[in-house]
Symmetry: C2
Subunit: 450 residues, 2 copies
């Protein structure tokens, strides 16, 4: 199947009509190269696995909806997230930027360039409306998700201020996260007035989205930190295979899934009753995004025994089954004991401490990604987990759980939290017009200013 | 087609026999999610483009050959490259490490774990032989390419020394690169005794390879710098589509291709006659790898007009055709003039200055990747091109061309070179045994010690 026939006209793309995804073309390359007699040329033979060309990754997710996309959307392969500091003090300019972001985001997730004239069809003596590196690429399942930080409402802790007359709109759950044991947070990797999460199956599509939104924000907001995540470490749909993190273990087996509608209402989506005042009801239908850049001490981990690794995690490394038995999907039996009445799942095991039963029944929708940013001066990889979770209230979900994990979890010894942010994620835009035009003036974050 | 039936037994992988690639599973996910009635759940509807599941990316390239793989191999989607400093002073230890690297590399490119007992089948009280994060992933077209830096032979400039009795083996072309105008090189992103390039269509496979080789080198060598490249910016096969760089332009249209056998002999593969002495013939059949981490000033570029961008590059942004006319594959006509006898391709255009006709007929095989490493404190993206080129002799190919580009190329204004390295790439290992066992003692770099 192919959606190109019923896709909106990509008027600004020179290759429209015969658009082929890069991946599809690469796939074709295998076959063609063989036909060209490449095998053996220059000593390099093509492998034995000349598979059929993959189909174009032209999947698109609708931008409009009750909730924003990129939360319960089946986790895409790649992520690029950026936090922004608002540099203007004009409320109107901020509103206009969010309106532009809404239009540009809606266009990009549909596979359109950032502006109508795209990369090549505008006036020859003006900068192009789109930067162009995604010109030949499909939408690749792109989602763009906006969040707002506490500092947008009340300023940063070191300079409290109500720049935009939004202080009375502060949602109850948008607190300053406490310091957790083991935190080694860098200000340049933390917080920010706004956050934009771009997820796609092609990293160039995600980077292109952040870059073009950044450009659209020029003079109004600038990037505070940004992070590339090269591979997902969570599933958010029952139909997805559980990925492995850099410790080599399956991650997020017990994650809250997009299919669990009732549980999502209970644990992810902010309800009307959560608003501290009528002024803060704008977040109803939204959620909170917790981001933590967690560096993993891989060199130390790699020197621990398989026994120790499995004991720390509480699951088997291969199948991901709880140490109390069964398979990956079996519920852990924390009471099960083995030799000498020792618990099969050790007291400090991650699976025990992170389990809802140890956290007052709360759950989170995790949507994290693996990152690597090179290495430090000692030659250790600067790599780990860019933890992302969506929660209805961090005060009752993330904060108590992280407090417990940081104190007692055996895994914490191998982790260092170097970045952190908590953001309120507004509900979705109910409708969007053709090519990203606003319908009834609705834009992302509109409720903040109503 | 599927190569699993004739693949070597993956004895150490618990999932062998029913191994499904992550990507394949994700593909299935789309369909299954629809079947589960996901559309509309939580306000998120699946897009209209429910495509067929892509096939497993199980492609493998043979490790053994006259030349190393990863040079003329059709450029994979992702790269992770690391340079290493050798920390031992024992020649024997260095040799043993290169032997281990040969075996581990041959295993990994075949989709096997780093060691026979893998991630989960070794002794329970020992660290696993493989770190495990690629346990469920296919080979994804992995290639691993080894190079050796000048400092391995004669020590770094600040501390000249012949640690391993290799000074007389120094190939003529393994010079210290000169300082080029505009260089802003960081020592922590440059040089190194050894370099390993891992390319694959899945970044986790490439990162896994570097990590496990790093682990194998523990106590003998450590990472000096490493770089993730998230998307290829070159084609190395005529069957590949030309990708776009972060300036939005097609890159590497006129690249030397893997199919050009005679040209490869002339411009890429070191010939017997290139050896300065009989001691340096070990590089015959090898090549040189030039690596340059080139930061692109995207914010400045994005403010220039389409006219200026095209003039600087010398090609159209959309089709990538030379400004003298034709299409992407048309040879530029540097003599063509337009209004007022002005050249259609400006004097300082990149395509003109980088063209073989302006460089004594020399060509290079480029194999670069786009990177992003977050942003700087001013909010500018730290992103650009990780330039990789393979050449027969940098003294007559890369150095004169880069000298000319740095001085006169309009593009240089938007570029900053922050990392640099030149490495001699030994020829391939002629044969490799089952599961990476050495045949006749042959290992990567063996000629250095013969």
């Amino acid at each position: 199947m192919d959606d190109r026939d019923d896709a909106p006209p990509r008027v600004t793309r020179p290759s429209a009509g015969h658009q082929l995804s890069r991946r599809a073309f690469l796939g074709v390359a295998g076959g063609s190269a063989a036909a060209l007699g490449l095998a053996g040329v220059g000593g390099v033979a093509l492998g034995r696995a000349l598979i059929e060309p993959p189909l174009p990754d032209a999947r698109t997710y609708p931008f409009a909806g009750i909730h924003q996309a990129g939360i319960t959307t089946p986790a895409q392969d790649r992520l690029y997230t950026a936090a922004f500091d608002v540099t203007t003090t004009s409320r109107d300019e901020l509103v206009r930027m969010l309106q532009r972001w809404t239009t540009v985001s809606a266009r990009l997730v549909d596979g359109l360039p950032a502006g109508p004239s795209g990369s090549t069809s505008g006036p020859y003596d003006a900068p192009p409306e789109d930067t162009g590196e995604a010109m030949d690429l499909p939408a690749a399942g792109l989602t763009i998700t906006l969040g707002v930080g506490r500092s947008l409402f009340v300023g940063p802790p070191e300079a409290p201020q109500d720049r935009f007359g939004l202080a009375h709109r502060l949602p109850a759950g948008l607190v300053a996260l406490p310091h957790f044991p083991g935190d080694a947070l860098e200000p340049g990797r933390s917080d920010g007035d706004l956050v934009v999460q771009a997820c796609a199956d092609d990293p160039q599509v995600a980077v292109h989205a952040i870059r073009n939104l950044t450009r659209t924000a020029f003079g109004t907001a600038r990037v505070r930190w940004s992070q590339l995540g090269f591979g997902r470490t969570s599933s958010t749909s029952r139909a997805q295979q559980t990925p492995r993190n850099l410790f080599g273990f399956k991650d997020g087996t017990a994650n809250l899934m997009g299919e669990e509608t009732a549980e999502l209402e209970r644990h992810v989506w902010v309800q009307a009753e959560d608003a501290p005042s009528p002024d803060a009801t704008w977040l109803t239908g939204g959620t909170y995004l917790v981001a933590r850049r967690i560096r993993m001490n891989l060199e130390t981990w790699d020197r621990t025994s398989l026994r120790e690794q499995e004991g720390i995690v509480g699951r088997t490394k291969g199948a991901g089954a709880p140490l109390s038995g069964g398979d990956e999907r079996t519920e852990p039996d924390f009471g099960a004991t083995g030799r000498g009445d020792a618990p099969l799942i050790p007291k400090g095991a991650h699976v025990r401490l992170a389990h809802p039963s140890a956290n007052g029944g709360v759950r989170m929708l995790r949507r994290g990604y693996t990152f690597t940013d090179g290495n430090d001066s000692l030659g250790r990889l600067d790599a780990g987990l860019f933890f992302v979770a969506f929660v209805r209230d961090a005060r009752t979900q993330f904060i108590p759980m992280q407090t417990q994990l940081a104190r007692a979890d055996g895994l914490s010894e191998y982790l260092e939290h170097t970045g952190s942010g908590l953001y309120a994620v507004p509900p979705g835009v109910p409708r969007i017009g053709p090519e990203g035009s606003l319908v009834g003036g609705a834009f992302l974050g509109e409720g903040l200013f109503a």
